[in-house]
Symmetry: C2
Subunit: 444 residues, 2 copies
């Protein structure tokens, strides 16, 4: 059987990794796929660097290197376009043009799918081509396949993941070394774990893109990135990591999506924020730049998937797994393929994304008080009046003896009740500054 021909758009870190792994393991991959997979064309901004990579992999003469990405998507000899240039506008245009040309697409671009996925999948559906995206979420972990195929028997209840390695690295370092956010971020940048402009990572945007994709395939809903609550770790203080530790918790940046019932109606929680997790949970012990995704589903119960969430070869591993899948399914009638969003397009659900006021979880609240006399009574009264019950309390004197930190862990409640209670707490005369509020998930 003739090899299938792929064209790469972009040959940066992931592109080069994909090229190299495909070459290195070409025999292994062919023995599995039953057919060779060949990269016969690469579009790159830096032609010289691209030619070096092709040369190093011993593929000179077999792979054309061009500047114009449209030359790849318009090339009639290319069966599969692998989009690895990232970003929104050009990537969208190229992917849509590849689809219009009847080509299958493999992409690692979570931003593109979270924002323009509905348009892209609709176009692919109409053309009868596949858009595969295992590499868009959690790097090398085959979580898309697990959610979409491995757990196909289940009604999925929730997905919670450490899906951004940069922030997990920063949080691990803050906890290990007791350093503050800014110091660790600087180190992470020096070590290459954080980018020069780290906004997308540290403010939770990258995690929210990935979460949006997982929510779509877990619940069979369209991509709704606009509905996601996105909160990063840049305002997280070392003192809260320490107090959480004393109370038996770790703080992680989690992406959480969950079926929820509010006032009788069903909706989907879709939120990224720092989260306290009991230290005994396996996922609380995922350290450094590693990723992990915890899935709860009605038949299987809890399953967890762990691995490298970024990097050239881990991401390439997922890109190539998609290439193998697409190679196998290329001759299959489109209706029999695994649907893009796990459920057939006509079977998607229109569950609303819940506003944050309506989510239910537990909370870590820290108040800084000037004079503690009577304050505890005020705090507990305000919480009791709001119908919020208390799970644990910690009282601390951090350095300055005139002031006291009071930490309260609540039981599960609705966010709007907590927010209302916080406003009342902040109006108390003894309170200094604002209440620190961090959400807590038991993940039990």
């Amino acid at each position: 059987m003739k090899p299938i021909k792929a064209g790469l758009l972009g040959i940066g870190t992931v592109g080069a990794g994909t090229f190299q792994v495909l070459r290195r393991n070409q025999e292994e991959i062919r023995r599995r796929a039953g057919r060779g997979i060949e990269v016969s064309m690469v579009a790159a901004r830096n032609l010289e660097r691209a030619r070096d990579i092709v040369l190093d992999a011993g593929a000179a003469g077999q792979c054309e290197v061009v500047n114009d990405p449209f030359a790849v998507v318009d090339n009639p000899d290319i069966d599969i376009v692998v989009e690895l240039i990232g970003g929104y506008d050009l990537a969208r245009e190229l992917v849509l043009r590849a689809i219009a040309n009847g080509k299958h697409v493999v992409t690692a671009n979570k931003a593109l799918l979270a924002q323009h996925g509905n348009e892209i999948f609709a176009a692919a559906q109409e053309k009868g081509v596949m858009v595969a995206f295992e590499a868009a979420v959690a790097g090398g972990i085959p979580i898309i396949k697990a959610l979409r195929e491995g757990l196909a028997a289940n009604r999925i209840e929730s997905v919670a993941g450490i899906i951004n390695g940069t922030t997990n690295f920063i949080l691990s370092e803050m906890r290990d070394k007791g350093l503050d956010f800014a110091t660790v971020l600087k180190q992470a940048q020096e070590l290459g774990y954080a980018e020069a402009d780290p906004t997308f990572d540290i403010e939770g945007v990258d995690a929210a893109h990935k979460l949006t994709i997982m929510a779509a395939i877990a619940f069979g809903i369209p991509m709704q990135f606009g509905g996601a609550h996105v909160e990063g770790i840049s305002r997280l203080q070392a003192v809260d990591i320490r107090y959480a530790e004393e109370l038996g918790y770790r703080i992680k940046l989690l992406g959480i999506t969950r079926r929820s019932s509010v006032d009788g109606g069903e909706g989907i929680e879709l939120r990224v924020h720092p989260t306290l997790i009991p230290a005994a949970r396996l996922i609380a012990n995922v350290e450094g730049a590693m990723n992990a995704v915890l899935v709860k589903a009605d038949a299987v119960g809890t399953t967890l998937y762990y691995g490298k969430g970024a990097g050239a070869e881990p991401t390439a591993s997922s890109v190539i797994a998609d290439l193998v899948d697409v190679t196998r399914s290329a001759t299959v009638d489109p209706y029999s393929r695994v649907p893009h969003l796990a459920f057939h397009p006509s079977e998607l659900a229109d569950l609303p994304i819940l506003p944050m006021d309506d989510i239910s979880t537990s909370y870590y609240l820290r108040v800084h008080v000037q004079d503690q006399l009577g304050v505890m009574a005020d705090l507990t009264r305000i919480l009791a009046e709001a119908g919020i019950s208390i799970d644990a309390v910690l009282q601390k004197q951090p350095g300055d003896k005139a002031r006291t930190d009071i930490v309260i862990i609540t039981h599960q409640t609705r966010e709007k009740y907590v927010n209302a209670a916080i406003l009342k707490i902040e109006s108390l005369a003894a309170i200094v500054g604002q209440v620190v509020r961090i959400r807590l998930e038991s993940l039990g």
Copy 2:
């Protein structure tokens, strides 16, 4: 599209779970598969119980209950046969007959596949039908799919798993409560975590069946259960669990399979035995009846898959995922399907399974000595002469002050060197009884 029709052989725990989950989530599953999946026939030994299950699931009138399993495999209306009766002979006969009748097969029977898989897959290949077996390994964890498809880009280096919940439960209890094996086994039997005849679980046979299957799909080799080293936990002593803990390790029953080079040739390690693992590893913290599989592969690095390894609905989750896969692939030309053993049949490798003498790992050695004067010098001399270097030493007086336990952790070495050294150690006059030898994997 008309529903696809499945016939169940056996409706015990997993069969009933499969029936119930298929009914409960029928809409969810149909929306994914694009086609309904209906169990239209069930063969059961106990007809009354089977009819109750069918009735409870609201399927009376839609599902025929029979005594004779051959009536299912010979029924021309059945598309997929789900074999859940377990055991070897009858299961083999039924599966082969189903295949001969042109039916696809889904099975949870690891014993059958480990022993007769090569014959069964060859027959299926010839007939152009599928034999799917996600439920045969690690219950609800989609590990077969991960190894066979999710990691298709990789040269897989090793697979190490906690793949027997009964033994992991027993080991967790022994460690937590400091109890001995026999006591905990009895409790496990009372709690339903261990069977009345627990031999297959506690002696490692069940784990070796599952490991044999994983080795086949990881490395593209035929099933070679006969080559597996199988060692259970029944002789494990509480004292070694305690000493391991002091040295920073947990003891788990691991199934390990790995590519290995010996004397210039390549081979496969295939072994189940109690294993020390550094306590900091995620997999060392998998407790109770849970399962986890750690995979190392060249591109993706280390990934881990965690979940329930047994039970009605977790296993049903995998059985039904297979039903969905088979439903989707039923119309696909056989060459384009995922090969049974991950690699196309003509592309299997003939790597030998290595004898235990040739495996390489680290060791925990415990010697009980009468008179410690000069013993340490003798021990270290014997190990040094065997070319075995020492990583850690622990000396303990357990109760009886006249006797001492000496524990040595070695660096990685070949098993035959360790065994030779142990013979020499046991011939020392000061040594009481035999040397306790437990293998150690750093899984780093």
